[in-house]
């Protein structure tokens, strides 16, 4: 019983962090056909911004969290305004934007390294302590991680489903030309999408760094997992990415307990291969979701 609760808690914690990391990536791909290789850097920037405000200026925890998320949003908008918008209509956009954003990620990582060094600073934005549930210790930080992921992803789902703003994003994702004809300003929609991705990723970065500490390369591992989750879910499927992230978190925790901790990622990768063979569009994807 204790083990089962532990697996569920670990799975939900991992899944929540994966979800925040992957939903923004899925949204960007689904709307713009853009695989953002700098997505991991949004996480890093959010984590460092939160750390800087909290430790250097003594800002309270909520303010530091908000600052980190704002830093992610600003990073997203700058990426769009300075690079993406100039490449949107170029030939082979999907390929060239991957290379361009990979370059941005490398440059940003080096800048952070230069500014902060590689010392694994402790993220002040965390809550210490734990409580017991049927004999299993559950940390308050895990609860915060799950709650924050649920809040942000819930807000995104509401935004996409019930607002005109969300309708514009969905319309653009379905058919860019048709959306334009219906009066949607698609370029502004793209900017909004990248900002949302930046917000979610920076929140993920803050939460991940609360467990792992800060490092300039901290976004790399979550980015790889986010890519895996997006492929499993179906490229561009936002809801699917959220659900797949939770499933993968639970799956990884169960594999770690029942088979061995080292098999978590290899089994996940094996699963991706199987899904690509038997369901090329992913578990939740439809072929038409993917822009041609």
């Amino acid at each position: 019983m204790d083990a089962a609760i532990q697996i569920i808690i670990t799975g939900l914690t991992l899944g929540a962090m994966y979800a925040l990391a992957s939903v923004g990536l899925a949204l960007t791909y689904g709307t713009m056909g853009m695989f953002n290789m700098a997505h991991g850097m949004f996480m890093t920037i959010g984590a460092y911004a939160s750390y800087s405000l909290s430790s250097a200026f003594g800002a309270p925890l909520p303010l530091a969290l908000v600052a980190g998320i704002c830093a992610g949003a600003i990073s997203g908008s700058l990426l769009h305004l300075l690079i993406v918008r100039f490449m949107l209509h170029t030939e082979d956009f999907q390929t060239t934007i991957m290379v361009a954003t990979a370059g941005v990620a490398i440059a940003l990582q080096d800048l952070i390294l230069k500014r902060y060094g590689a010392y694994p600073f402790k993220q002040p934005a965390q809550i210490e302590g734990s409580f017991r549930l049927a004999g299993t210790a559950i940390s308050y930080q895990s609860i915060v991680i799950v709650a924050m992921a649920a809040l942000l992803i819930g807000a995104l789902a509401w935004l996409l489903t019930y607002t005109k703003f969300g309708l514009a994003i969905r319309a653009t994702a379905m058919n860019q030309d048709a959306a334009k004809l219906m009066g949607v300003r698609t370029e502004r929609t793209y900017l909004q999408v990248i900002v949302i991705a930046g917000v979610l990723a920076s929140a993920a970065g803050i939460l991940i760094s609360s467990l792992a500490g800060l490092s300039p390369a901290m976004g790399t591992d979550p980015l790889i997992r986010a890519f895996i989750i997006c492929v499993v879910a179906g490229l561009g499927s936002v809801t699917g990415a959220g659900l797949a992230a939770i499933m993968m978190g639970l799956f990884e925790a169960a594999i770690s307990y029942y088979i061995g901790a080292r098999f978590g990622l290899p089994v996940m990768l094996g699963l991706v291969v199987l899904i690509l063979i038997f369901r090329p569009a992913g578990l939740f994807g439809r072929m038409e979701v993917v822009r041609s």
Binding site: D2, I7, T10, A118, P120, K122, A212, S215, Y257, R262
Partner: protein, 441 residues
């Protein structure tokens, strides 16, 4: 055990002392040599440092860089190496594998003109830089703590004459740990609830070799391995592994996965519902980053290193100087490694008549010969090389004389603000073992 025997056979104490060279304060020795020297060249001596300045091993890589900088300043203040100033050039190995490590080493030699390579440890197969050094005929000093080095050099000394590991290999951690816990139990300092040892290792060769060496010898010391788990790197959520440990309830938990960030999370999550187990964390807990991240959860943890700053005048003076220069968050244990390696190299090069040039082996071979003869006392103990494997001897595992081997120290963290206190071996201990607060007496 074979390696232990090989090392003992590789160099007799009598044979070594015959040609031995005692390093009683490298700066003073260098200054004396420099007094009578005429500068051989106005060009600085370039020492290449292939270090992991980014990625998972960066916490240590930064310390290694700082240690080199501090040593270079001291050497230059003493007149350099026979009048030539020492200049450190670093190349980032990115905590990566052999491809990145090799290219970093090669760049330092071919682009920067390095006359020697000095590093702390790098990841990969831990044989990459030996090959770079052998191809370029330069001296290479490192602290990989790797059996891979001893195997490589022992089997082909004609090729790897210039590669030296200035610490013992990781295999000694196994015997030393088992010996240590048995001693704690035999002397009544610890009454473990059972003889079970749970081992948690990581994906890197260093961690796996230590875990395997404990596993293979446990029965000889009267212990059984009840759990052997390999985790990924990084591991931030230890839930499933801790669930297994809590079911197993071992008397001893050994974590050989050595990343300080991951070890810190292990302790924080373990202490939420601890078992009555002695916790030993390999190496990572010796770094300030571990205490910084784990906070109160770091107190009571045991760790060991076979290349850590000792007690006593030489070591304490270094630690004070290092912390004064780089701040309270710096780790003298890391910086001391490259610090003493550069001092050792400078002294050997001065005695050999100067440093060599890449691809011209004659002078570098003279430096290597001097290194092989040296007995050098640095902040982490005595570096005396086994003549066959070109690794430092371990005290007390290989030699019972503390003046002839690098001390394998066990430490316990007593306060989160301070480095751990050495609790073994004699004569370096600074405190007694204390039962961790989560264990029952």
């Amino acid at each position: 055990m074979d390696e232990k025997r090989d090392c003992e056979m590789g160099s007799s104490r009598r044979g070594f002392l015959k040609g031995g060279l005692l390093g009683l304060g490298s700066a003073a020795v260098l200054a004396t040599l420099n007094e009578s020297a005429v500068a051989q060249s106005a060009d600085p001596v370039i020492v290449g440092a292939p270090l992991q300045l980014t990625g998972a091993g960066a916490a240590d890589g930064i310390e290694f860089k700082q240690g080199l900088e501090l040593a270079a300043e001291e050497i230059n203040a003493s007149g350099g190496i026979l009048g030539r100033q020492v200049k450190i050039v670093t190349a980032d190995t990115e905590s990566g594998g052999d491809d990145l490590i090799t290219s970093a080493g090669q760049r330092l030699i071919d682009r920067d003109g390095a006359s020697a390579l000095i590093a702390g440890y790098n990841f990969g197969s831990q044989t990459a830089l030996q090959n770079v050094a052998a191809d370029a005929s330069v001296v290479y000093l490192h602290a990989d703590t790797a059996r891979a080095h001893t195997d490589l050099v022992s089997k082909n000394p004609g090729r790897y004459w210039g590669s030296f590991m200035y610490c013992p290999s990781e295999l000694y951690y196994g015997f030393a740990f088992l010996n240590f816990i048995k001693h704690l139990e035999d002397t009544g300092q610890l009454k473990a609830p059972n003889k079970k040892i749970a081992i948690v290792t990581g994906p890197l060769v260093y961690s796996i070799n230590i875990a395997n060496s404990i596993k293979s010898d446990a029965a000889k010391y009267g212990y059984e391995i009840s759990l052997f788990e390999t985790v990924q790197a990084p591991t931030t959520d230890w839930g499933p592994t801790l669930a297994k440990l809590r079911e197993d309830k071992p008397g001893f938990i050994v974590v050989t996965h050595f990343f300080p960030q991951d070890q810190a999370q292990f302790m924080i999550q373990f202490l939420a519902n601890p078992t009555n187990s002695l916790v030993y964390l390999q190496y990572g807990a010796s770094l300030a980053a571990f205490r910084d991240l784990a906070g109160d959860a770091s107190v009571g943890v045991l760790y060991a290193t076979n290349i850590g700053v000792l007690s006593g005048e030489v070591s304490e003076e270094f630690a004070k100087k290092y912390l004064g220069r780089y701040g309270a968050k710096a780790s003298p244990n890391g910086g001391a490694q490259t610090y003493e390696a550069l001092h050792l190299f400078a002294q050997a090069a001065a005695l050999a008549g100067g440093v060599g040039k890449a691809y011209e082996e004659e002078q570098s071979k003279k430096v290597a010969a001097r290194l092989k003869e040296s007995i050098f006392r640095g902040p982490t103990g005595v570096i005396r090389f086994d003549q066959k494997a070109q690794q430092a001897f371990s005290y007390p595992v290989q030699t019972k004389d503390p003046s002839l081997g690098m001390a394998h120290i066990f430490s316990q963290i007593k306060r989160k603000e301070e480095n751990g206190y050495i609790i073994s071996p004699t004569p370096y201990e600074t405190a007694q073992f204390e039962l961790p607060k989560w264990m029952q007496a």
